[in-house]
């Protein structure tokens, strides 16, 4: 397309947006509200996912070693575990270390356990990490059968519950988002329909003097695009600001844990990109839907 023609289309669509000021405002608001909700939901979902992954990745198998095992037995057990193909790493944690961890994790009350330092009742432990979190159970079952593996523990149940929760809330959210997107598209399509009704004569004459459908469609396409992109500005700004504050607040609370939220950069830029694209898509789709009918004049 020639630059001159594109300029004409731009001028045409801006003129129409201005002429139908209130309808423009209504559609932009519809997109704004939709994208705001979609954006907030998306940010929460992505962070929940991140938290779940963090927790999941932290899940390890703890193999309590039989007290009867000698150093050689321990080494043999370690070797056998290492040979399981799904095992990523194995770390030996002597019982002194385990007791110290226990005392630390209990804080002040842990002091009571200091008595046991002389006669440690805990076991030496192998901490085993698998390559994939899903392999935990399978690997744990294999290790259970090995000699001198006294007890094999892993926290899969808790993780499963968390994942089930995230999954169900994600489904509910998706339904909501799709519903909202359709509402916004419907509103835009109606806005543009109103501007088209006003321009019906113009389209009719354009067709009579031999304008192509593509030529007629362009200004509407641009209008939809502008409505959508305009509608994404407020949600992007608001969500970024809110996220920055929440990130600082929540990260402060989470300090020292292995759980982290998604970093502002690049996460917020990705969110912004997604919102702009969604806005543009809603706008274009809405306007193209309403133009289609009128091109048959």
């Amino acid at each position: 397309m020639k630059a001159r023609t594109l300029r004409r289309h731009m001028k045409e669509s801006l003129k129409n947006l201005a002429r139908n000021g209130w309808m423009t405002f209504a559609s932009v608001s519809a997109v704004t509200v939709t994208l705001m909700l979609v954006g907030v939901f998306f940010v929460i979902m992505m962070n929940l996912n991140k938290v779940a992954t963090d927790i999941e990745e932290d899940v390890r198998i703890r193999v309590h070693i039989d007290i009867a095992a000698t150093k050689q037995d321990q080494a043999a057990l370690k070797k056998k575990i290492e040979q399981i193909p799904e095992v990523e790493s194995i770390v030996f944690s002597p019982k002194e270390n385990e007791l110290k961890n226990l005392i630390d994790s209990l804080g002040d009350e842990g002091e009571a356990f200091k008595l046991f330092e002389q006669d440690n009742p805990l076991y030496d432990v192998f901490v085993v990490k698998t390559k994939q979190p899903e392999q935990l159970e399978q690997v744990a079952k294999k290790i259970e059968k090995f000699e001198f593996a006294y007890k094999v523990k892993f926290g899969q149940e808790d993780v499963d519950k968390l994942f089930a929760f995230i999954k169900s809330s994600r489904n509910v959210g998706l339904v909501l988002i799709v519903g909202l997107l359709f509402t916004a598209m419907f509103l835009i399509s109606n806005t543009i329909k109103i501007t088209i009704v006003a321009r019906r004569k113009e389209i009719e004459i354009m067709k009579l003097v031999g304008a192509t459908n593509a030529f007629i469609r362009w200004p509407f396409f641009l209008e939809g695009l502008m409505l959508g992109v305009l509608g994404s500005v407020v949600p992007i700004v608001l969500i970024s600001v809110i996220y920055e504050y929440s990130y600082d607040y929540i990260s402060g609370k989470l300090q020292g844990h292995f759980i982290h939220l998604l970093e502002f950069n690049p996460f917020m830029f990705q969110v912004a990109g997604i919102l702009i694209l969604l806005g543009a898509a809603i706008g274009i789709w809405g306007s193209m839907m309403s133009v289609r009918k009128f091109l048959k004049i």
Binding site: M206, L208, V209, G210, N213
Partner: protein
């Protein structure tokens, strides 16, 4: 050159508006299409600029069969046709100049060419002095002249007019006819549907009478043939 062969048109509501129309119109001819209301005149005219598609038969205009013309080729057909209506179909927010230029802008003509051709055409219809006015500031005859200017600004070979004088008083109608005559002498074929007995009987041209979707009379230099 316009050629219709065994053209049959049935609307979805069952009305048969064209029932075996055969006609040949040579380049440069001036043809009146007459007949009572609802006889099929408008359908005849509409099929020529592919507003309506025939159910059966062929319509050739300058070697193109409109019955088989693909939807995306219609714009190119229309660029070689000028169409004028009873109700002018001008855009009320555009000036006289802009209304005429519109026809060239939407087919992406060069800006220099647009200016030159619009002014030439407005000169032909004697409206050069009113280029800046809006349609609402013009009389009916002047509005129709703008609409004619728009239809011929692209120098089409064929001009199609559907009751162009239907909304005008007799005196203004003569003015419009004078312009049509002028356009016709330059070699443009004109097909004009009309109810204006006086015009048909005074400015003699070929007359095609349509009734019940059929051509019942086709005379070189014919007369209107109906009681007003």
């Amino acid at each position: 050159m316009i050629e219709m062969e065994d053209v049959y048109k049935k609307y979805p509501n069952g009305v048969v508006a064209a029932n075996g129309i055969d006609v040949r119109i040579k380049q440069g001819e001036f043809v009146y299409v007459v007949g009572p209301s609802g006889a099929g005149k408008s359908t005849f005219i509409k099929m020529m600029y592919r507003e309506e598609k025939p159910t059966r038969g062929t319509i050739m205009i300058n070697g193109v069969n409109l019955a088989k013309l693909k939807e995306n080729k219609v714009p190119h057909l229309r660029r070689n046709l000028g169409v004028v209506f009873q109700d002018f179909k001008l855009l009320p927010t555009l000036t006289v100049y802009e209304n005429v230029a519109f026809a060239l802008e939407v087919i992406e003509e060069q800006p220099k060419q647009i200016k030159k051709r619009v002014m030439e055409t407005l000169d032909l219809v004697n409206l050069k002095h009113k280029v800046r006015m809006l349609p609402s500031e013009l009389s009916g005859g002047e509005q129709q002249r703008v609409s004619i200017a728009r239809s011929i600004v692209n120098s089409p070979k064929v001009m199609i007019a559907d009751e162009p004088t239907g909304n005008l008083d007799p005196e203004t109608s003569w003015e419009i006819m004078k312009i049509f005559e002028e356009i016709n002498t330059r070699g443009t074929t004109i097909v004009m549907a009309t109810h204006n007995k006086e015009i048909v009987n005074t400015i003699r041209h070929r007359v095609i009478a349509i009734e019940n979707g059929q051509i019942i009379r086709d005379e070189q230099r014919g007369d209107y043939g109906y009681e007003s």
